[in-house]
C-alpha cells in the first residue's frame, strides 16, 4: 500500500468514526421530539449524549484537518465549491451546540421547547447536508482544470443527492434509537423500542432505493464495482450487519445491536468510498480533471509526518475514548450537573 492509499483509508476511517459516533447524537436529536414527551424525558435524552457528544464532534474537526493536510486540493475544492452547504453545516453545528448547552440552563416551558425544536432540526439538518454532499461527490461535480468546483447550492439539491440526504437522516435516526435502548428506562425506553421497527423499515427501503439509483445512474461508481468485484464486500457485509442489528434488537442484546448498527453505518460509507477509489472528487467535465489520491495529495514528506502523528496519537485517542464511554456506560439518570 502506498502512503497515499493509506491516507485515503485513514481519512475514510476518520469520517466513519465521525458518522458512527456523532451519528447517534444526530439520531437522538432527530427522534428527540417524537420519543421524549416530558421535560424529564427530554433532559434524559440530552444527558444520554451529554458527556460524549463534544468528543464525538472532534472527529469532524480531525477529518477537516486530515483532508487539509493530506489532500489539500480536495479540501480547497470541496469547501469552496460547496460553500453554501458547508456554511449551513456550520450553522447547524453551532445551533445544535447552543441548544444542548442552553436548553436546561433556564426554567420556562417556551424557552425549553424552542431549544428542543432547534436541537431536533439541527440534528436532522446535519446528516441531510452531509448526505447531499456525499451524493454529489458520488455523482461527480463540475470541476475545472484548476481544481475549482462550479456548482450553485441549487445544483447540489438534485434528486439523487436529496435521496442520499434522506437516507442519511433515516440511517442516523435508527442508529440513535438503537443507542437509546442502552441508555433509557421504563416508559421512555418502551417508546424508543416501539419506534425501532418503523425506523428500520424506512431506513431499509430508502437504502435499497439509493443503492439501485447509484447502480443505475452513477456509472462511474457502478463501473468501479464491476471492474474488480472486491468492493462488493462492503455493501454485502453492510447488509449482514443490518440483519444482525435487527436480530439483536429483537433479542434484547442492546449493546450488540448498537455495534451492528455502527458497523452498518461504517460499511455503507466504505461502500461509497470503494466506489470512488482512487478518486476523491470526480469531474463531470473531463476525467482528466478528477482529483485523485495521487494528484491531490500533499508531498510524501508531509504524509509521512502525519502518519507518525496518527500512529502515536490514534491508539491513545481510542484508549481514552473507550475509557470515557466505559465510565459513563449504563442507563442515564439525572443529577445536579445534568443537562
Amino acid at each position: 500500500m502506498s502512503l497515499n492509499e493509506v491516507w485515503f483509508v485513514l481519512f475514510a476511517m476518520i469520517i466513519g468514526g465521525y458518522l458512527i459516533l456523532d451519528g447517534f447524537d444526530f439520531g437522538v436529536g432527530i427522534v428527540h421530539l417524537i420519543a421524549a414527551r416530558t421535560d424529564t424525558e427530554r433532559r434524559l435524552m440530552l444527558s444520554s449524549i451529554g458527556p460524549v457528544w463534544d468528543g464525538n464532534e472532534v472527529w469532524i474537526v480531525l477529518g477537516g484537518g486530515v483532508l487539509f493536510g493530506a489532500f489539500p486540493l480536495v479540501y480547497a475544492a470541496l469547501f469552496s465549491g460547496f460553500y453554501v452547504a458547508f456554511v449551513l453545516v456550520l450553522l447547524a453545528l453551532i445551533l445544535r451546540t447552543v441548544a444542548i448547552e442552553f436548553r436546561s440552563k433556564h426554567q420556562g416551558g417556551r424557552w425549553r421547547l424552542s431549544w428542543d425544536v432547534v436541537f431536533a432540526l439541527a440534528s436532522a439538518a446535519l446528516p441531510f447536508l452531509f448526505g447531499v454532499a456525499f451524493g454529489n461527490i458520488l455523482a461527480g461535480v463540475d470541476l475545472d482544470e484548476q481544481g475549482n468546483v462550479h456548482e450553485s447550492f441549487i445544483d447540489l439539491l438534485n434528486p439523487y443527492a436529496l435521496l442520499i440526504g434522506l437516507t442519511a437522516i433515516a440511517m442516523f435516526a435508527l442508529h440513535g434509537l438503537v443507542f437509546l435502548t442502552m441508555k433509557t428506562e421504563e416508559e421512555l425506553e418502551a417508546r424508543v423500542r416501539s419506534l425501532i421497527p418503523r425506523a428500520m423499515l424506512i431506513f431499509f427501503t430508502l437504502t435499497t432505493v439509493s443503492v439501485v439509483a447509484t447502480a443505475v445512474f452513477q456509472d462511474q461508481v457502478s463501473d468501479r464495482f464491476l471492474s474488480d468485484y472486491w468492493p462488493f464486500v462492503f455493501p454485502a457485509t453492510a447488509f449482514v450487519a443490518f440483519l444482525t442489528c435487527v436480530r439483536m434488537v429483537r433479542a434484547g442484546q442492546d449493546f450488540l445491536a448498537f455495534v451492528a448498527s455502527s458497523a452498518t453505518v461504517g460499511l455503507l460509507l466504505a461502500s461509497g468510498g470503494a466506489g470512488m477509489y482512487p478518486n476523491l472528487l470526480i469531474s463531470s467535465r473531463s476525467e482528466s480533471f478528477n482529483l485523485t489520491i495521487d494528484n491531490a495529495a500533499s508531498a510524501s514528506n508531509t504524509l509521512e509526518v502525519m502518519l507518525v502523528v496518527a500512529v502515536i496519537g490514534m491508539p491513545l485517542v481510542l484508549l481514552y475514548t473507550s475509557g470515557v464511554y466505559y465510565f459513563f456506560r449504563g442507563k442515564t439518570s439525572l443529577g445536579p450537573d445534568s443537562y
Partner: protein, 484 residues
C-alpha cells in the same frame, strides 16, 4: 466590497469572536486546577463548592469556543481555497496534529470534568480537569505554531505545479519551531492566564461589593489576586516586550507600521497613544522619547527603520494596526497598575475589602483583558498584511475564486446575526449564573466525598462488573444519583 473584501471581514469577525473564548478557558482552567489542589489538600468543602461553580462557567465558555472553533477550520477551505492549496502541506499537518493530540484529549476528558463532580473523588476530578486544561494549552501550541509559520515561514521549499506555487515541508521541526513561535506562544499563554484570573477576580470582587457569598469570594481572590498581579507585570515587562523584539527581528516593516514610524529614526519614540495620517504620512500623539529604539535594539540611539525604507506595497494598513497595537499596550499597562495596587491593598491588612473603588477596578479587569487580547490579535494579523504568509503569499491571492459577492455577503450576515445571538445568550447565562452564585453546599455534596472513587483502582473496583468484592456497587446505579 467584493467577495475578497467580504471574506477578509468574515474571517476577521469570526476569528475575533472565537478568540474571546479559548484564552478565557485556558486561564480559568488554571484557576480550577489551583482550586482543585486547594480542595485536595485541605478537604474544605468550600473549595468543592467553588470548583463546582467555576466548572459550570468553564462549560459555558468551552461550548462557545468549540462551536465557533469549527467555523475557523472550515473557513480556510471555504473562503481561502488559494491559501489552502498553498499551505496545505505545512498548515494542514499542524491542524491534523492539533486534532489528534489535543482536541480528543480535551473533548474526551471534558465530560469527566463537567459531569464528574458528583461521580469522582477530589483527586480524580483534579486529574481530569488537569488533562482538559493541559489539552487546551496543547491545542493552543499547535495552532500558534501554524500561525507563527504564517508570520515567519521556515522549513519549507516552494514548488510550482500546474502554474501555481505551493509550500512543501522540508523539515517538520523547523515548521513547528519557527523563529517567532516561542515569544508568540508565551505571550498568548500569559495573556490567557491573565484573562482567566481576571474573570475570577472580577466575579469575586463583585460579590464582595454586593456583600454576597463572602467566604467564597474571598477564597477566589486569594487564588486569583497574586496570580493576576504577577502575570500582569510580567506581561508588560517580559513577555510583551519579548514579542515586540521578535517582530523587530523578523518583521521590520510590521514594526514600522504598528508604531506609525514613517522615516528611519535614531532614538525612536514609543507612542502611548496617537493618530496616524496615512495620506500626509505623519503620526501625532504622546510618546516616550527613545523607548522604541531601546525596546527593539537594547540601546536608545539605535536606528529603527521607517515605512519609507520598504516598498509601499508591503505596508500594512498603518493607522489600523497602530491603533490596535496601542490599545493593547495601554490596557496592558493599566492592568499591571491595577494588579500591583490591588495586590498591595490585599496584602496590606486586607484594605482591599473596604475600598470600593479598588474593587470596582478589579471587576472590569476581565473586560480589559479580553480587549487587550483582541487588539493584540488584530495587531499581529492586520500587521502581517498584505501577506497571508509573510513574504510568500499575498492575502488577495489566497481567496477562493469561485465565490460570488452575494454568497459571502449572506454568510457574513448570517455569522453576524448568529454570533450576536450567541454573545447575547452567553452574557445572559453567565450573568444569571453569577447572580445565582455558587450552588448551596447540600446540592454540591449530593454525594458524600467518601463514597466517590478517588483512584483509578477505585473506579474499576467500585464500578467494575468483574469484581467479586462484596462492597462493590452495581455498575448501573452510581450511589450519587438524585432524581429531581
Amino acid at each position: 466590497l467584493d467577495a475578497e473584501q467580504l471574506s477578509r471581514w468574515q474571517f476577521a469577525f469570526t476569528a475575533s469572536f472565537h478568540f474571546i473564548f479559548p484564552p478565557l478557558a485556558m486561564g480559568l482552567g488554571l484557576m480550577l486546577i489551583a482550586i482543585g489542589i486547594a480542595y485536595v489538600r485541605t478537604g474544605d468543602p468550600k473549595w468543592r463548592q467553588l470548583a463546582f461553580f467555576w466548572t459550570q462557567v468553564y462549560g459555558l465558555i468551552f461550548a462557545l469556543g468549540v462551536a465557533t472553533g469549527v467555523v475557523q477550520e472550515f473557513e480556510f477551505g471555504l473562503n481561502w481555497a488559494g491559501y489552502s492549496r498553498f499551505v496545505g502541506n505545512v498548515f494542514g499537518s499542524l491542524l491534523a496534529a492539533e486534532g489528534v493530540f489535543a482536541f480528543f484529549l480535551e473533548g474526551g476528558f471534558l465530560g469527566l470534568m463537567l459531569f464528574g463532580g458528583n461521580r469522582l473523588g477530589p483527586k480524580l476530578w483534579l486529574g481530569a480537569t488537569s488533562v482538559v486544561v493541559f489539552a487546551a494549552h496543547f491545542s493552543a501550541i499547535w495552532i500558534v505554531m501554524a500561525n507563527s509559520w504564517m508570520q515567519t515561514p521556515d522549513g519549507y521549499k516552494l514548488v510550482t505545479s500546474g502554474g501555481a506555487n505551493r509550500a512543501e515541508m522540508t523539515d517538520f521541526l523547523d515548521v513547528m519551531f519557527t523563529p517567532s513561535f516561542l515569544p508568540h506562544i508565551l505571550h498568548i499563554f500569559v495573556a490567557s492566564w491573565l484573562a482567566g484570573s481576571a474573570l475570577v477576580l472580577s466575579v469575586s470582587a463583585w460579590y464582595i461589593l454586593r456583600n454576597r457569598h463572602f467566604e467564597l469570594a474571598r477564597a477566589g481572590l486569594r487564588i486569583a489576586m497574586p496570580v493576576f498581579a504577577v502575570l500582569a507585570v510580567l506581561q508588560v515587562a517580559v513577555f510583551g516586550a519579548n514579542q515586540a523584539v521578535s517582530v523587530t527581528n523578523h518583521q521590520e516593516v510590521k514594526l514600522a507600521a504598528i508604531e506609525g514610524l514613517w522615516n528611519d529614526q535614531d532614538c525612536a519614540p514609543l507612542y502611548l497613544f496617537g493618530w496616524v495620517n496615512e495620506s500626509a504620512q505623519t503620526t501625532k500623539g504622546v510618546s516616550i522619547p527613545c523607548l522604541l529604539s531601546f525596546l527593539s535594539y537594547g540601546s536608545t540611539d539605535s536606528t529603527v527603520k521607517g515605512l519609507n525604507s520598504f516598498d509601499q506595497d508591503t505596508w500594512a494598513p498603518v493607522n489600523l494596526s497602530f491603533q490596535a497595537y496601542h490599545l493593547m499596550i495601554d490596557i496592558a499597562m493599566l492592568l499591571a497598575l491595577i494588579g500591583v495596587v490591588g495586590a498591595a491593598l490585599y496584602y496590606w491588612k486586607s484594605k482591599l475589602f473596604r475600598l470600593r473603588s479598588a474593587l470596582w477596578a478589579l471587576v472590569i479587569t476581565v473586560v480589559l483583558s479580553e480587549l487587550a487580547i483582541t487588539s493584540g490579535w488584530w495587531t499581529t494579523e492586520v500587521g502581517r498584511q498584505p501577506w497571508v504568509v509573510w513574504n510568500l503569499l499575498r492575502t488577495e491571492d489566497g481567496v477562493s475564486t469561485t465565490l460570488s459577492t452575494g454568497m459571502v455577503a449572506s454568510s457574513l450576515a448570517m455569522f453576524i446575526l448568529l454570533y450576536a445571538i450567541l454573545l447575547g445568550l452567553f452574557l445572559y447565562l453567565l450573568n444569571a449564573k453569577i447572580q445565582r452564585g455558587p450552588s448551596p453546599l447540600e446540592e454540591v455534596e449530593a454525594a458524600p466525598v467518601s463514597s466517590l472513587p478517588d483512584s483509578l483502582r477505585d473506579i474499576f473496583r467500585r464500578h467494575g462488573p468483574m469484581t467479586n468484592e462484596p462492597a462493590a456497587q452495581p455498575a448501573e446505579t452510581p450511589p450519587d444519583e438524585v432524581k429531581p
